[in-house]
Chain length 493, copies 2
């Protein structure tokens, strides 16, 4: 066995442990009873340490050194590059930090589930202070070894190639036109009337409708499931993709489109190449590209006029209210394209969404770079929310800085992915429209050209190309935020 | 850290990996989509190997040798003994055998889920032949190092201290009186009339009833769940106990009492000591003692006249048929104490059940000892079923030798636990009756004296005593099968 093959064998072993981590992680979020958390946290921390050790075995350095000099095919070269990326990310951190962060993160996330409802910033901040300290320590270490700034070093975990410099340019540009756009849309929509859902939408019927929509969107139930969790997500492994939602029996709107969103994530996972058996090169390219798929499904496809024409009658039939005005096509479309500044990011429309992301980006950037401390967050949150969306969160932690799960386990550097994803999705739709008549396909309820384009250009590529290469090969150019702006203007003005 | 403490620390680590194994095992049986099985099997096999390696680290032999000479408290001595037992069981097997058995067992179990429905002995036996070969190899290795016969060496995994010699005496005795007893009961019950459930019992209502019964029986939902699986079981870890059932919307009878049964397992797990954080001494004593708890709940408590008086109206109310004859106390009691020879062990009444166990015991004993091969099983099954229960399974693999899950993953030596459990349960009830008025407690719907007795005498002991010591300390004598016989005669004649 040569050293490249040894690396392959070793990284397959790692992927098998990651499989267990993914399933137990899903379990923790979707089905674990509260009292199970202490023993679970300890077991997950043990597994984190073991994975860290596997990625730090001393022979890996030699194997990488020797494999570099082997003659490898281009696909093996790409595979080697991704293994090396994982190794480099892991090998810089001391084991004690990995274990401490896993334990502190588990506790912070677990307690947050109660504390958020209680608006308990005092209680939350006790755990959160530790998460921040350990994350800053991680960012410092990553910065020292990579030569990046602390925040850029964290960004690199989720969005390889993306930097503060590029994000500042991108987001500062968005900030120049977004407030105006929101105002114009609000003016236009003020004169529009629509009927909001009222009454009761039983969970069982919402779930059945969700399953029907997933089926229509090509979700493979032989390799996945739909469940419930407090914070919807897509987890599991490519051969067993677990998506979740949460139901509110007063309102089906969020859950239904949330399922469309997670189905986009799921189809990416289910469409990844499986040829190498779980090696890094077969994984999703980045969080931004992942989000581009969920947002393609939710925003580009799911909220299009053509798709709503299928969705509205399905929903009406599911709730036995097919004749209700709520489920008429025009009304349903207005319901799903309503723009309204709100507190909660995950409930935000696609126009105000970037404001939420930019707010978090600016805070986590300064937090990781040591410019601010965790104590500054509530005030900064309030100040930026007022500036970007005209809403105050003073004293309202539940709907302010305690609304999200991401920071509880120290995932700093993740938030920009959401808006990058929205931008990529718009760019992909534009390129797809050049290749086929997308609207016509949707109208005919034949989504196969869409899935074919995504499968060939995105899903099947895994991580064989860099993000820039992937986007360029799919669309002819690297990220161009104008497609996103144009999409919003076309749909909403 | 002295060597005893090193062992404690090492076995805590092992228990954390066993936690992951238990949760992913539950997932596989209860929620995993079929297409997820290949990657899961590989991940579980990887974990098996890792656990095997942890139990085989070379320093353990030294630590055990040195700890033997340390001055230890009696509780630490008991803890050391159980760690050593686990270590000895694990360290005799080569890693390659552990891995091969895990992979072959996963495949056999997975394919069995389809093959059983198809009555496909040919297909099944292709996988099963491999499982048997590897299990025989395991039994041989265990026999050589322990000086036991191959089957006794396997028995020791599940029922430490139990031997073929003692089981032969016990079961041959049962065979002298069981057929007569079944005949007498059949004669008596022929003249009894009762109304069987007819109609539809929706799954949602069965589930709610099951949850209500679990609550009444003290199941701690902060540390456990109820789910659905093809083969009902109790899994998870003590801080997060997962029980399952299966629903048939034509018949609530099996599922309801199945939940009572699994709740017995669950309360044992939930009542185990947690002081040492997952060391072997805090685990359940044996499979027979585990089964004694589920059968105490199901047979001694659940099917008693006094308990049925609570259960019948609860069920009637759940299905909105409170006035139906089915749910009248006398009728419900007859329903749950009907004796009728049948093909399926898990559906069998408590009188015919030992016949199913003895059949499997005799076959697996001879299979492990190399007296027969797997090809002999269908004929032997048919012959013994005709002899013990007057039923032929010729050509009927689905309801014959393919009905059970246990052998698919090579768990040979497990079956005797069921009847040992029934016998222990009867003996515990007799002892409990000497300590308090059990019937009066049940009638008053105050189960606390029962749970107190079980908690103090069984659950809280974990594995600190041997089975014989445990039973003697709880009841004043070691296993005495007369209590079981008397219980059956009192209830059914």
């Amino acid at each position: 066995m040569n050293d490249y093959q040894k690396l392959v064998s070793h990284f397959k072993k790692i992927s098998r442990y990651k499989h267990l981590e993914a399933i137990c992680g899903w379990d923790q979020a979707a089905v674990m009873p509260s009292g199970g958390y202490q023993a679970r946290a300890e077991s997950m921390a043990e597994l984190s340490v073991h994975l860290h050790q596997l990625l730090n075995e001393p022979q890996l350095a030699d194997w990488f050194e020797n494999a570099k000099n082997q003659e490898l095919s281009s696909s093996h070269t790409a595979s080697l590059k991704e293994m090396k990326r994982q190794w480099q990310h892991a090998s810089v951190l001391p084991e004690s930090l990995v274990q401490a962060k896993s334990l502190v993160g588990s506790k912070c996330e677990h307690d947050w589930r109660i504390q958020r409802g209680d608006n308990d910033w005092q209680g939350f901040s006790k755990n959160f202070a530790k998460v921040v300290t350990l994350s800053q320590e991680e960012a410092q270490i990553r910065a020292q070894t990579s030569g990046l700034t602390p925040y850029d070093a964290m960004l690199d975990l989720y969005e390889p190639g993306t930097t503060t410099k590029s994000l500042d340019i991108l987001f500062n540009n968005v900030k120049t036109w977004l407030p105006d756009l929101i105002e114009k849309i609000n003016e236009k929509q003020q004169s529009e009337h629509f009927v909001a859902p009222q009454g009761v939408y039983p969970e069982a019927q919402q779930k059945q409708l969700g399953l029907d929509v997933m089926k229509m969107l090509g979700f493979d139930f032989n390799h996945g499931r739909l469940d419930v969790s407090m914070h919807p997500f897509c987890g599991g492994v490519p051969s067993d993709v677990r998506i979740t939602t949460r139901y509110d029996d007063q309102d089906f709107v969020q859950s239904l489109m949330g399922i469309v969103h997670e189905t986009g994530h799921a189809r990416y996972e289910q469409g990844l190449p499986s040829s190498t058996g779980g090696l890094p090169v077969d994984a999703a390219r980045s969080m931004g590209i992942h989000e581009s798929q969920s947002l393609f499904f939710e925003m580009q496809l799911g909220r299009s006029k053509a798709f709503i024409k299928h969705l509205a009658p399905m929903a009406g039939a599911a709730f036995e209210q097919a004749n209700s005005t709520v489920f008429e096509n025009d009304n349903f479309y207005k319901l799903y394209t309503r723009v309204s500044p709100g507190f909660i990011r995950v409930d935000a429309d696609e126009v105000t969404y970037p404001a939420h992301v930019i707010l978090r980006y600016e805070i986590e950037r300064d937090l990781m770079n040591g410019v601010i401390t965790y104590k500054d967050i509530p005030d900064l949150w309030d100040q930026k929310m007022r500036g970007y969306l005209g809403l105050s969160t003073k004293g309202n932690y539940t709907n302010g800085c305690m609304q999200d799960i991401h920071w509880t386990d120290g995932s700093f550097g993740y938030f920009p992915s959401y808006t990058l994803g929205a931008m990529y999705a718009a760019q992909f739709m534009s390129a797809m429209n050049n290749a086929c008549d997308v609207t016509c396909a949707i109208e005919q309820k034949d989504f196969s050209p869409i899935f074919k384009w995504l499968g060939e250009n995105i899903w099947s590529k895994g991580s064989s190309l860099s993000t820039d290469e992937l986007v360029k090969s799919a669309t002819g150019e690297t990220l161009n935020a104008n497609y996103f702006k144009t999409h919003l203007e076309n749909r909403y003005l």
